[in-house]
Symmetry: C2
Subunit: 497 residues, 2 copies
């Protein structure tokens, strides 16, 4: 088909059977500053009733952005919003008010203590959907979780939206959780207290995905952005558990040159990393890679030359933030780290990971979401992802806490199924998953093994067994496996109001 275009040419517009439009004019492209206020940014993004707003959690307990955003929504009179955060902290207690007044009526994202307690007593009209970090990324990638406005906290952004968490007074480490949100959400609003000269030298989020940059006074409280969990426990029982973890890794033959290990920020996990660092020195071994969260402990192992690469998705302390400002290493966003729909993930090569639990059971199922009274108090985080990606997934916990058995016949909620759990290291001994005959064979003679049933017996004997919960026919939430299937339900406990 021949047509005259605005350049004055009569052009054939059908090329290889497809008809394109004729050229209709060229104009200069320029840019406008995207900087605005939070409330105007939300308005310009078209915020309205029923929308889904997503957030990352890397400002941790110092985060002001979630509360500020819903305050702005309240001011705009917008109702029934869905909140799709990657995690929550005590600082988000005002979310209870946003729920009470109808600003928020639905949550798909990790829940924390105070808000979790409230929802456990007062279920939302829509059950809370709990996903792992990798599972959440996949849900956004596949469209299962549709985000209308991605609200992305940044410790620095230029006026065009090139944004980072690496620099600035509220620095928290690379923005690892929000790239997929920025690519899939209809609108993207960067929120920062630090508009820097263009071009921002760090750019985990790039202007090509950003609609507006909301400038606020403060995105967070620096002292609470840094996790309180990076202090190594001084509880002798926990230290012993941590030490036993390293003995188990060693007996399993996994402490070897080129090993890849996952580092976390929990007390026992951190202690285990400390002992692992010492073991690397003693045995003169050089690990390949530390993945996961960065802490001073890991940076020091790296500086000592005992691990060649730090391949991290979160940064937990100020020391580590300062460190990566000068040596960025290999930041891995959560998709790279754990997206189960991808063609390859960082965690698939993990030799060892040490994780926690609120409960474990004799099928090696792990609960990290609910307490034994049935309240939904924690998120899944990377628990599922790293458990499935590792050769040796170690769960650490005491056999019982006060009057509560921790090792049970059956966990209250399955967060991570026993199929991918290899060992449970407790204060009363180490149980190995009987399916891991290779592992049992390998450590035989070097490590004392107890049966998980024996641990359960100890727990029940010391505590009188678990409290019996009765449930109402009302869903509080559900846990999903990272492939999107329903792993477990969390029902409302009778009498918990």
């Amino acid at each position: 088909m021949k047509e005259k275009n605005t350049a004055g040419r009569i052009v054939e517009t059908t090329i290889s059977g497809i008809t394109y439009k004729p050229f209709s004019g060229a104009k200069k492209h320029s840019y406008k500053s995207k900087v605005t206020t939070l409330i105007d940014g939300l308005k310009k993004c078209g915020l309205r009733d029923g929308m889904c707003l997503s957030f990352h959690h890397q400002l941790r307990n110092g985060d002001f952005v979630i509360n500020q955003t819903f305050e702005a929504a309240r001011e705009l009179g917008v109702k029934n919003l869905m909140m799709a955060q990657t995690a929550m902290f005590p600082v988000h207690e005002p979310v209870i008010d946003f729920i009470k007044e109808g600003t928020i009526n639905r949550i798909e994202g990790s829940i924390n203590g105070i808000v979790g307690d409230y929802i456990s007593r007062n279920p939302l009209p829509y059950p809370v959907v709990l996903r792992s970090h990798g599972g959440r990324w996949a849900a956004i990638r596949t469209g299962e979780l549709k985000v209308d406005i991605a609200v992305i906290a940044a410790s620095a952004s230029d006026e065009r939206g090139n944004a980072t968490g690496v620099i600035g007074k509220s620095a928290f480490g690379p923005i690892s959780y929000s790239q997929e949100d920025s690519m899939k959400a209809d609108k993207v609003l960067v929120v920062t207290d630090n508009v820097v000269e263009y071009p921002n030298k760090f750019q985990e989020i790039r202007e090509r995905y950003v609609d507006y940059v909301a400038q606020v006074d403060k995105i967070g409280d620096a002292k609470n952005i840094m996790s309180g969990t990076t202090k190594i426990t001084d509880d002798p029982m926990k230290l012993q558990i941590a030490y036993d973890c390293v003995d188990l890794m060693d007996a399993a033959g996994l402490i070897k040159n080129g090993m890849v290990f996952q580092s976390g920020a929990g007390g026992i996990s951190l202690a285990a990393m400390k002992y692992l660092g010492e073991r690397l020195e003693e045995k003169d071994i050089i690990a390949s890679t530390a993945t996961g969260g960065l802490t001073q402990l890991i940076v020091d192992i790296y500086k000592a030359g005992r691990v060649k690469n730090i391949y991290y998705s979160q940064v937990f302390d100020e020391y580590s933030v300062r460190f990566i400002q000068n040596d960025i290493g290999i930041p891995a966003d959560i998709g790279h780290y754990a997206d189960p729909t991808s063609k390859g993930r960082t965690i698939d090569g993990l030799d060892i990971v040490v994780l926690g639990a609120t409960e474990v059971d004799t099928s090696f199922n792990v609960n990290v979401n609910t307490h034994s009274d049935g309240r939904m108090l924690h998120g899944i985080g990377g628990h599922q992802d790293t458990a499935a990606g590792s050769s040796l997934c170690i769960i650490t916990c005491p056999v019982y806490r006060k009057t509560n058995p921790i090792v049970l016949e059956s966990v209250t909620t399955i967060s991570t199924p026993g199929d991918v759990i290899d060992a449970i290291v407790t204060d009363q001994g180490i149980a190995l998953n009987p399916k891991r005959t290779d592992l049992i064979e390998k450590v035989k003679g070097n490590i004392d093994i107890v049966s998980i049933k024996d641990l359960k017996e100890i727990a029940y004997k010391q505590t009188g067994g678990p409290q019996k919960l009765e449930f109402e026919d009302k869903l509080v939430g559900c846990t999903k496996w990272f492939d999107g299937t329903i792993l477990d339900n969390i029902w409302k406990v009778k009498g918990l109001d």
Copy 2:
């Protein structure tokens, strides 16, 4: 709907009105090396007749990968492939044989001299589609250009497909052209001569998008990977044109603190950058950013503190490759740089760019694709993108070359429309686009301006005017504006066989 899942739980699978599958089992994820041979990699990617294979051009005239890939396809007996490269070089002459024997029957991508000459005489059954770098990225992003197998040359990759062009004996700079290909192609095959220890410390292409890593002896010839175009011209006429460009920028008030300029690797463009660097020194000005291609000249301006940021998409010489290995700066992939479908691009803030032309006309239209004899000999590159993104787009050319007028009544092919061209700087004077009254006003009194029609008259007088071409009703190719519309057609010239 309640169902029992394989974790033994009876779960409600209908959550907020959507029914999900019940959990059906968890397994450990591990990884397998993706390393294979080129021929097996193509087989495993399911190569078959009629598929589209994409390539980047950053190995330039040293590239072995395009030829090796089609040799493998020939060996596999696969026919009628589409080639979607980002550019071609003389080294790709064997493509003519692949066309003759039916391995390749369609090209959507920049064409170079030798192959272009052949196709101009022997049109393919499908017209060649010429797009700018940004336009190509957008065509892949929107699905207009569907890639079956992205073949991505890398100077280093680990066994899982984390790949780079920054390090290794065939280093060529960050892989900037292929991220969108890797995300949109059905299959992704990294081709490297350098399988490095996991994890590769540079990762422009990440394992999550990579299916296989083909290991070959050599991906290219290092001395030809580095462009021959980074030598500054010593032709006094061209040097004068370059100098006049800088005077024009200066008169336009664009040589100022915070300026953003585009650097290229062509002879005059490079000389203009040299003079610009000197002008920055003389006037004690500090530019904000140099975008585009990196050369020693730009690195030296950066080292001298005359430009704060190097924000580059290509690296043209060995000096610059060595430099970025230690100071990566801000690499900008082509989407970030120039994707017209994005929410913001690096080039939208460009103050100045200096570009070349094979022809210009009195409507300020520019031809970079065909010669005056009608042969299609060059690609568009970033010409359209930077012209439209810049405040001042300067085209440099002589008014005539031997017996050919370069300034014409009407260009043979429109590559970039006159609407986004601001100035034409020639050996016979500077013409400004009459639509740019603001610019004309600004430079008045400081710069001598001639009319484009006068330049055309000089050209016609000295050469006797352009040769008259007659065309057959047979399309050789078309140029597209970066929004996907048909800008111009390239028809077969009568008698050119």
